[in-house]
C-alpha cells in the first residue's frame, strides 16, 4: 500500500513537472519556420546571425531556419499540402507565378496597419512582388552584376585597371589571349548577357512586359556577346571545366567574370588568394553603363500558421535595422535607400543606383523565356565557327517564341 502511494505521488510529480513548464512556454513563445535557399556557407552563417539579432529583440518569437536544397520544389510541395512555412524566400523571377496560384498572403494590410514605410525601397525592387494594389513580398536585399578582375592574371598581360568600355575590353582580351589567359568567363544565360542588351541601349521587357529582345539595340548587345564567344574572349563555365563562372574565376581560369556580391563570400571561403587579388568595377560601357540587378523577398503563405509573428519577422528583417545587420555580412547590398552600403561593396552600390541598371523581368511565364534563350544560346556557341549575327537572331527568335502570348 505504501509502495503504491509512493508510486502515485511520483507519477503526479512527474506529470506536474512535464505539463507545467510546457504550458507556460506555449503561451509565451511562438516558433516560426523560415525557409530559405543557401548559396554558400557564409551566406547561411550570415543569415543565422541576422536571425539571432531578431530573436534577441523579440524574445517571444523563436525562428526555426530551414535551408532548402531545392527551394522551389520544396515550397511547391508545402503549398500543395497547405503547410507552407511561416516566412520564406520569394525569388523575383517566380513571384508572379506563385502569386497567380493564390498561395501568397497580401502584405499590404499588415504594412498599412504597421505604418511600414515603403518609400524607402527602390521602386524597381518592389515591382516584381506587386500585383495591382497587392504586395506579396518585401525585398530583403539587392544584387547587381559587376565586373570582377583577377589582378594577378591581369598583371601577367600587363593590364592594371579594369576595362571601362567594350572597346577597352576588346584590347584587354587581345593581350590576355596572347598570354593564353581566357579573358572572361560568363555563362550563355539571359541573366548575364541581358546586361549587354542594356549597355547597348536596349532592354529585356517593357513596362507592360512586351519583349524588347528584338530591338536593334538589344540585338547589338547580344551580337557583341556572341562575337566574344566566337573569338574566345568569352568562355562558358562548362568550357572551362567549372560548374559556374565564380568557380572558374576562383580557379584562376579567367581574368574577368561578371557576378554579384554573392561571389565575395564564396571566394573568401574557397579561394582566398583570388579573393585577395580581386578588384571590382562596373561592367564595360557600350552606349551607356548598364547592368542587371536581382532581388528576392520575404513572403508569407496564405496558409502559414503564424502570420502575425511572420510579419513581425519580415518587418524587422526588411526594416532599416535588420537589413543593416544582414547586409553588413557582404552577401548582398541593401534594397532600402536608408541603409548604407557595407564597406567593400561600394561598386555594387554605385551600379545598383545607375538609372540603367534594370531588374530582371518578373511576369508569369518568364521562366519559359529564360529556358528557351539559354538552351538556344548554349546550342549556338557549341560549334566554334558559328556566325555571331545569325546566332543572336536564332537566340532572340527562340526566346520570343516562348514569350507568353497576350
Amino acid at each position: 500500500m505504501k509502495k503504491i502511494s509512493i508510486g502515485a505521488g511520483l507519477l503526479a510529480l512527474a506529470l506536474a513537472i512535464s505539463v507545467a513548464p510546457s504550458s507556460v512556454a506555449a503561451d509565451a513563445v511562438t516558433t516560426i519556420s523560415v525557409s530559405t535557399w543557401g548559396s554558400s556557407p557564409s551566406e547561411t552563417s550570415a543569415l543565422k546571425d541576422a536571425v539571432a539579432t531578431f530573436e534577441s529583440r523579440n524574445p517571444t518569437i523563436k525562428v526555426n531556419l530551414i535551408v532548402d536544397n531545392d527551394h522551389g520544389a520544396q515550397m511547391a510541395a508545402r503549398f500543395a499540402s497547405k503547410t507552407p512555412n511561416d516566412v520564406f524566400y520569394l525569388d523575383a523571377g517566380i513571384a508572379q507565378d506563385w502569386a497567380a496560384q493564390g498561395v501568397l498572403l497580401d502584405l499590404m494590410p499588415a504594412i498599412t496597419a504597421a505604418k511600414f514605410n515603403l518609400t524607402k525601397f527602390n521602386a524597381s525592387y518592389l515591382k516584381p512582388f506587386q500585383s495591382g494594389t497587392k504586395l506579396f513580398g518585401l525585398p530583403k536585399d539587392a544584387n547587381p552584376l559587376v565586373l570582377e578582375g583577377n589582378t594577378t592574371l591581369m598583371a601577367a598581360a600587363g593590364i592594371k585597371t579594369l576595362p571601362k568600355t567594350t572597346a577597352e575590353f576588346a584590347a584587354h582580351a587581345k593581350k590576355l589571349m596572347a598570354q593564353n589567359i581566357t579573358p572572361m568567363c560568363v555563362d550563355a544565360d539571359i541573366n548575364r548577357l541581358g546586361a549587354y542588351f542594356v549597355a547597348f541601349g536596349g532592354g529585356l521587357a517593357s513596362s507592360t512586359n512586351k519583349s524588347l529582345l528584338s530591338s536593334a539595340t538589344s540585338k547589338a548587345g547580344l551580337e557583341w556577346a556572341m562575337s566574344n564567344y566566337k573569338s574566345g574572349a568569352f568562355k562558358t563555365p562548362a568550357q572551362l571545366s567549372a560548374g559556374w563562372a565564380g568557380e572558374a574565376f576562383g580557379k584562376a581560369k579567367c581574368a574577368y567574370t561578371m557576378e554579384g556580391a554573392w561571389l565575395d563570400p564564396y571566394l573568401k571561403d574557397s579561394f582566398p588568394d583570388v579573393y585577395d587579388a580581386m578588384i571590382k568595377g562596373p561592367l564595360p560601357k557600350a552606349k551607356q553603363a548598364g547592368s542587371l540587378a536581382f532581388t528576392a523577398a520575404y513572403a508569407i503563405g496564405k496558409d502559414s500558421p503564424n502570420p502575425k509573428e511572420a510579419w513581425t519577422f519580415i518587418e524587422y528583417m526588411t526594416g532599416a535595422r535588420g537589413m543593416t545587420v544582414w547586409t553588413s555580412y557582404g552577401v548582398a547590398i541593401p534594397s532600402r535607400s536608408d541603409v548604407s552600403i557595407p564597406l567593400g561593396y561600394e561598386v555594387n552600390g554605385v551600379v545598383a543606383k545607375l538609372a540603367t541598371t534594370i531588374t530582371t523581368p518578373a511576369f508569369k511565364g518568364w521562366g519559359d523565356v529564360v529556358g528557351a534563350f539559354n538552351n538556344e544560346a548554349k546550342k549556338q556557341i557549341q560549334d566554334k565557327n558559328f556566325n555571331a549575327k545569325k546566332a543572336a537572331a536564332a537566340i532572340i527568335a527562340a526566346a520570343e517564341a516562348a514569350w507568353p502570348k497576350g
Binding site: 506563385w98 498561395v103 557549341q382
Partner: protein, 310 residues
Amino acid sequence: MQSSKKHSYRLSRKKSEILVGYGFISIPMALFLFLSVGIFFYAIYISTYDWGLIGPTENVGLDNYRRALSDPIFLKAIRNSLKYALLVVPIQSALGLFLALLVNSKIKGSKFFRSAFYFPSIASSAAITTLFIFLMAPDGVFNGMLKFFGVDVSNLFNQGAWLSDSRTALYSIIGLNAWTTSGTMMLFYLANLQTVDSQYREAAITDGASRRQVFWYITMPLLKPAHFFVVTTGMIGALQLYDQAILAGGADGSPDYSLMTMVLYIYNACFRKFEFGYASAIGVILFVIIFSLTILQKFIFGSSAWRGEN
C-alpha cells in the same frame, strides 16, 4: 466413416490454409490497389483538370493531352527518352551478359570481379554523375586519354565539354548509365546462368559443337527469362531517366533540350510551373508508352519467358 472424417478434416485444413494465404496477401494487395492502381486512376482524374497549387480550378477535358502532344519541347522529351532507352538497354544488357559469362567461368579471382563489376550499381547516382561530370569536362580524364592517343577535341564538341554539347550530351549519359547499370544486369544474368543445367552444354560439346555454337544455340536460348527480365526492367528504368539528366543539363535539360526527358518535363510542369493537371497528363502518356513497350516485349520474347520458363 473414418475416411469421410479424414476427408472433411483435409478440406477444412485446405480452406484454412487458403484463408491464411489470402490473409497474408490482403494487406500488401490493399496497399497496392490503393497506392498504385488507385493513384493511377486519381492521376487520370487530375489530368482532366486545370489543377494548380490550391487544387482544381476548371475541368478541361482532354486539353492537357492535346497541349502535350503539340508542345515541341515535350515531343523532344519523348524522342530523347526513346532514343536513350533504345540505345542504353541493348548496351547495358550486352555488357551485363558479357560480365556474367566472365564471372561465371572458372577464372581466378571471379569473386573479386563480381564485386568490382557490381560496385558502380550500388554507388549513389548523384555521386557517380557528379564524378562523371568531372571525367567528361574539357580538362577531364576522358579528354586527357583522347589527347594521349593523339585525338585533340579542343576544337570539337563545345571545346571538349561533352555534357554541354547538344550532339554528345545524351550519348555521354548513355555511356554513363550503361556502365553503372551493367553490374545489376550481370547479377540477373548470373542468377539465370547458375540455374542452367550444364549437361546441355556438355552434350553439345560431346556432339562436336564449337564454343560459339554452344553460346548461340544453347546458352542464349536458355537465358530467355533473364533476357526478358533484363530488357523489360531496363526499358522501364530507362524511360524514367531523371537524375542524371537534371544533374548534367539542369532543369531545362540544356543545351538545346538535348537532356530533356519525359520525367524531367514532368518535374518542370509540377515544381516550376505548378501545373499538376498537365503534369498528370504527361504521367499518363508515359505510362501508356511504358505499358505498350512492355506488352510488345512480351510478344517478342514469347509467353514462356514471361512465365520464367527456359
